[in-house]
């Protein structure tokens, strides 16, 4: 070709490819790679062919044993339980395959040539997801087939269609949750070793889930399995969203990767905590100022700038928490119709000091003293923050909803018994609630933000950094806003609320 010729064009694609075809190409290669790895295939084969046979034998033996003792119900419950176990064990390998597929590629540097191909991040993600899920699922189905076939031939047992579909659904969802969780874990590491360490964040919840499923199945409440399936779908959707967000070219090749470095995490926390959010100027006190003066300036800035900024930035989680609080109050009110107190059981006009003091004897309520109420509320809201980390914020909201459901329930009961619910709320709740409810809403909203930071880290931050930043925000708001409000609320609740109630109801 001469120097003056037109520059060449790339070879024309043979035919237009659909997205599914690309996903298929990626999944096929991954599957081929997996089935050539004896370390993965041999345990799956054992769990698929040998383990169901063993469970089959176990089931038969157990049934014979319990029939001799006329405790047939144990056998009836054991067979479906073993069906679930037989199906789940091969599924557990999806986690191993997914970690290998996602982070293994990064570690071996084979991901970059793939990223240079004319494919989308989503096609790559789906191809790998399918590959990581397909083989264990196939193993699971085969295992279930062997187990059920053996049982049918030996004792003529076959599951109902409903149970069969429930077990299949649970297994498929478990596999998808583990694989989508593995993608999230993989996005935070550059080595399979580190990913295996982080995989405990998937293994431990899954182990707990299996225990819960076991209890449910021995209890015989198979309908509850549908609820677990719904829960798994929600978790899977959250994890898939996180995975899609983190599994992209920019994140894979263009980001610092989190390391488990406690010293660095501590430094980072300090930085997020001490520095003003939003990039505002720092303390005006110069470096020559004495430490107490610098601290005073810093506190001044926290109240003038940091807290208003953080509250503005988190208006959405606060609005969500408020919405849930209203829903909780509604739920409480709605329960009155189902569980009404007998007429005459509650006589507010007969309330006395002694009855308020007697509240201290109720085990789950704190003593009616400022320090006890304050400590109790701080404990609960800190627990919400902690629980948010492992529950994506869900437990934090549940913890807030429980007392509000009770408030709604009692307000409803009061109305049912012929009292004004508004007077009840204005006397029992409002005096300290003016401080306690905003404190609880703010704390729960920032706890929710901690959970959400895992699924959607702030722009430019890794998941770990986003988590540290959210915790630092939570601690700052808790120390300088929530705790003072709770203290005031506790004082009012211990000293003024009972007086107001007694004054209003004339006890």
């Amino acid at each position: 070709m001469s120097r003056t010729a037109e520059p060449p064009r790339p070879m024309a694609p043979g035919r237009q490819r659909s997205n599914f075809k690309v996903v298929g190409i990626i999944a096929r290669r991954e599957l081929r790679d997996t089935v050539r790895d004896w370390r993965i295939v041999s345990p799956i084969l054992i769990l698929t062919l040998l383990f169901p046979w063993l469970m089959n034998w176990t089931a038969q033996t157990a049934i014979e044993f319990v029939q001799r003792r006329e405790a047939t119900i144990i056998g009836e419950r054991l067979i479906p339980f073993l069906l679930m176990i037989v199906g789940f064990f091969p599924i557990s390998f999806s986690l191993v395959i997914a970690l290998e597929t996602f982070v293994g590629e990064k570690e071996r540097h084979s991901i970059e040539p793939l990223l240079a191909m004319p494919i989308t991040d989503l096609e790559l993600y789906l191809g790998k997801m399918i590959a990581a899920t397909a083989l264990p699922l196939l193993g699971s189905l085969l295992g279930i087939g062997v187990y059920l076939g053996g049982l049918y031939l030996s004792i003529g047992w076959a599951p109902s269609w409903s149970l069969f579909i429930q077990i299949l659904t649970l297994n498929i969802l478990s596999a998808l949750v583990m694989v989508s969780g593995a993608v999230v874990v993989s996005s935070q590491t550059t080595s399979v070793r580190a990913a295996n360490l982080l995989a405990s964040f998937i293994i431990v919840p899954m182990a707990i889930l299996i225990q819960v499923e076991s209890v449910v199945m021995f209890w015989g409440n198979y309908h509850a399995l549908w609820s677990i399936s719904v829960g798994l779908v929600v978790v899977m959707l959250i994890l898939v969203r996180m995975g899609v967000k983190t599994f992209n070219r920019e994140e894979i090749l263009g980001r610092e990767i989190d390391e488990l470095n406690l010293a660095r995490t501590g430094q980072l926390f300090r930085q997020f905590f001490v520095q003003p959010p939003g990039g505002r100027p720092g303390s005006r006190a110069g470096p020559q100022a004495s430490p107490p003066l610098r601290l005073l300036h810093w506190l001044g800035r926290v109240y003038r700038h940091d807290l208003p900024f953080l509250l503005r930035r988190n208006w959405m989680p606060m609005a969500i928490v408020l919405l849930f609080a209203i829903v909780a109050a509604g739920i409480g009110w709605a329960y009155v119709a189902r569980y009404p107190l007998p007429q005459g059981m509650l006589r507010l006009e007969e309330l006395s000091d002694q009855e308020f003091e007697a509240l201290s004897n109720v085990s789950f309520l704190p003593a009616l003293r400022t320090e006890s109420i304050f400590a109790h509320n701080v404990e609960v809201l800190l627990l919400a923050g902690l629980a948010a980390v492992v529950s994506l914020g869900v437990f934090a909201i549940l913890l807030l909803m429980v007392p509000i459901v009770l408030v709604g329930f009692f307000a409803g009961q009061v109305a049912w018994l012929g009292y004004s619910p508004w007077t009840f709320l204005a006397t029992f709740i409002l005096p300290h609630g003016l401080f306690e409810i905003p404190a609880a809403v703010v704390a729960t909203a920032f706890a929710l933000r901690i959970g959400a930071s895992v699924t959607a880290p702030r722009e430019g931050l890794t998941v770990g950094e986003g988590l540290v930043a959210a915790i630092a925000d939570f601690v700052k708001v808790f120390l300088f806003l929530v705790a003072p409000l709770l203290l005031v609320a506790a004082f009012i609740e211990a000293n003024l609320t009972p007086q107001i109630v007694l004054w209003a109801y004339g006890g």
Binding site: M1, R3, A5, E6, P7, P8, R9, P10, M11, P13, G14, R15, Q16, R17, V22, I25, I26, R29, R32, D33, R36, D37, R108, H109, S110, I111, E112, P113, L114, L115, A116, M117, P118, I119, T120, R249, E250, L253, G254, R255, E256, R264, Q267, L268, R270, Q271, F272, Q275, P276, P277, G278, G279, R280, P281, G282, S283, G460, L461, E465, A469
Partner: protein, 326 residues
């Protein structure tokens, strides 16, 4: 075929830094800082620079793997952000590490990437046969890649990059880990690519190779291009005018004083001397005429070779020390 304009890439970097008050903990590491260059069809541009200079990041942006933080780039007429899919089809990327799937055979491996590039089975078969033959891997096509030597793996990665016949090739260290024979094969292939009017961006630490292959050289330092020109011009700019050497058949005795009005002799030996001139087209004929008049028997008049390494080290030492990988 490749055009960049103020191409910049910043990575978020949350490493806490002492004394940083007044901003959130997030800081940015600028890996590539306003890089502007173009590479024409049929041209080879060598991108040199110390580790962490931003070469790999630049290549990744050109391959539409990373998105620029600022500036823009066009490859084969396509915008690297807007037309990412077309860019990835027009580019053949040889990555820093071969990154092969070691349980596969070469045929399977190439078929996989060919399919992702949208090639038909016949196209894949034909290109695989041609390229494996050209790089001496035809006999090893059915061998598992785990059994390949480092050099074979590197060659297969290069074949992967060339499989879809792309007009633009981004080659990161194409001959690293290769024996001299294989390296020669690859260099010849790169020269063939130029003859076929393909555009090649070559990242390398092998300066001899860069000088041998590249039409122009760009030196990156701390994310910026600190030099961009042909090897000859870079040498002239940085090492001064050409150094020329005259060798005589006889001893030098007596000749040098008669040359002082023509050239400034810098070094000399028993039968040779060296001088520097910025206008060899006039100085050299005059010098030869003078020596002939003196009846000196001139054996050779040649330019003293100056390595690109000298140029590179001069620029890089001015530009800064190694930084962490970018």
């Amino acid at each position: 075929m490749i055009q960049t304009e103020n191409l910049t890439k910043r990575f978020p970097c949350s490493t806490p830094r002492a004394g940083r008050e007044g901003a959130e903990a997030l800081t940015w590491l600028t890996a590539v800082d306003g890089v502007t260059f173009d590479v024409a069809a049929g041209e080879i541009l060598a991108l040199l620079g110390p580790n962490g200079a931003g070469k790999t990041t630049t290549v990744r942006m050109l391959a539409s793997i990373l998105t620029p933080s600022a500036g823009r780039a066009q490859v084969a007429g396509f915008d690297t952000v807007r037309d990412a899919r077309q860019v990835r089809h027009a580019v053949g990327l040889l990555t820093e590490f071969p990154g092969l799937y070691l349980r596969m055979q070469a045929d399977e491996y190439l078929a996989f990437f060919g399919e992702l590039q949208g090639l038909s089975a016949e196209q894949i078969r034909r290109r695989t046969a041609t390229l494996t033959e050209r790089f001496g891997l035809a006999q090893a096509r059915r061998q598992r890649l785990a059994e390949y030597s480092k050099g074979m793996r590197q060659k297969l990665a290069l074949i992967r990059a060339m499989l879809h016949d792309p007009p633009v090739l981004l080659l990161d260290e194409p001959t690293s880990a290769m024996d001299p024979h294989s390296a020669r094969q690859v260099r010849d292939a790169i020269l063939d690519l130029r003859r076929e009017r393909r555009t090649v961006l070559l990242c390398t630490h092998n300066l001899t190779e860069a000088e041998l292959l590249a039409d122009r050289i760009a030196i990156l330092c701390r994310g910026r291009i600190v030099a961009l020109d042909t090897p000859a011009r870079l040498k002239a700019q940085l090492l001064g005018p050409s150094l020329l050497e005259v060798r005589l058949a006889d001893s030098l005795n007596g000749y040098l004083p008669g040359l002082t009005d023509l050239v400034q002799v810098e070094e000399w030996g028993d039968t040779w001397f060296r001088y520097r001139t910025s206008s060899p087209e006039t100085t050299n004929p005059a010098l030869l005429a003078r020596l002939a008049a003196m009846e000196a028997r001139v054996l050779t008049l040649s330019e003293v070779p100056r390595s690109l390494e000298d140029v590179y080290l001069r620029i890089v030492s001015d530009g800064g020390d190694d930084e962490q990988d970018r």
